[in-house]
């Protein structure tokens, strides 16, 4: 068995040190050693993107990265999205637009969209679909995920972030 190494990296702004075998995948370190169990595992062929985290300013599938490669890296997971208990615009968007059902793909979807909106703050629907194509979802059929990302993009651009959901709009109007 290969000797273990200590790896230090930043996880949601906090320094962490872990001792791992070289073969340990980052997803397993995050889930099992760091107890960040938001990132999920949905496949073993690098397709599904449920394990997506932000890694040195890139969206990466943490199932296809060795933890030893994370030495000195800045890693952000879904647990690091909300600030001071306030949801990130994307989390709010996914909630308001019904962009999740079982929630298994959601942490990866959120982290991918987090990077996408920094690279392209005003994406078209086609661009959202193209640049989110590394994330599979079994539940939603993607339609509401697109709306959720659009909602968050509007909010992050400082525009009014109104839900597309007619009943919520009607309900909100009724309450006034």
């Amino acid at each position: 068995m290969a000797s273990k190494t200590m790896v230090s990296f930043s996880l949601n702004g906090s320094e962490v040190d872990v001792v791992v075998e070289p073969r340990e995948l980052l997803i397993h370190t995050l889930r099992e050693k760091c107890q960040h169990t938001g990132p999920h595992i949905g496949c073993e062929t690098s397709h599904c993107g449920a394990c997506t985290v932000d890694f040195n300013g890139m969206s990466v599938k943490s199932c296809t990265l060795l933890t030893v490669q994370a030495q000195g890296a800045e890693v952000r997971t879904v647990e690091g999205l909300a600030e001071g208990g306030t949801l990130h615009a994307l989390q709010e968007g996914f909630m308001q637009e019904h962009g999740l059902q079982c929630g298994f793909c959601t942490p990866g979807m959120l982290m991918r969209a987090y990077r996408l909106l920094q690279e392209n703050p005003d994406p078209t629907e086609a661009e959202i679909r193209y640049w989110m194509a590394g994330n599979l979802c079994r539940c939603t059929g993607y339609q509401n995920i697109v709306k959720a990302v659009q909602y968050a993009a509007r909010k992050l651009r400082g525009e009014a972030a109104e839900t597309s959901h007619p009943l919520i709009e009607a309900g909100a109007a009724h309450a006034h």
């Binding site: 290969a2 070289p22 995948l25 073993e44 599938k61 296809t64 060795l66 030893v68 194509a133 590394g134």
Partner: protein, 292 residues
Amino acid sequence: MIPRPFEYHAPQTLSEAFALLGAHGDTAKLLAGGHSLLPMMKLRFAQPEHLIDLGRLAELKGIREENGAIWIGAMTTENELIWSALLQTRCPLIVEGARQIADPQVRYRGTLGGDLSHGDPGNDHPALMVALDASFVLQGAAGERVVPADGFFVGTYATLLEPDEILTGIRIPMPPPGTGYCYAKLKRKTGDFATAAAAVTLRLAGGNVEHARIALTNVGDTVIRATDAEHALVGKPFDARALDEAARLAMAACNPVADLRGDVDYKRAMAGEMTRRALGTAYERAANPARP
């Protein structure tokens, strides 16, 4: 999901990398983006005892103009290719091709050099590089040699790269203004390897085809250059008859294997259709160079 144990090395310089390759011989594998190697290791198709990570070698990164050619470091990622202003303006075929490779996350990690060194006939860059007449810089501890892309791929997962060599860079002759291009890829879904695909560069002169290069993806045990189809086009007007003949000759050059993407006849037919579409688009782009 769980790879076999191995020792991990992260050299800081190329000479350190060569020393490690020399010390561990064929029990070692080079780790680039890791998006072909790690998946194979997770399924235990590959079980190297040593991984030599090239990720910290800055000298293997970058895209620049050099002596009238384009130089791309082997560790340059797919997204870096897509976002390169130099490639977008001077060599858009690479951008068009890279946009059809895998998905965003994979493209943050997967590298041009890794896609080529892997030698998988399903990969897209081999055909793009053959269509662009690229050359590969192979370095060993003793020095470097430069080999053309056309001829580098010798079989499935087999290339001219020796076990003690590292593909360090890719050189692409600057495509002359007015070069038409296209990568037409048929795939079942985003992120899939091609059922069939065709990479084309095309130039016109005086109403005739002056230059044509056609390379086919995933319809043989390696990339296939459709030289007969090229010959059928050069020196003649680009018309329906020439296009039919080129597509027919491209199909004749194929040697696909049946799998879940289709049987031999289907793949061969689709190689012809992708050739037809790539040539058509490349012709339009060559004839109307102002239009992107």
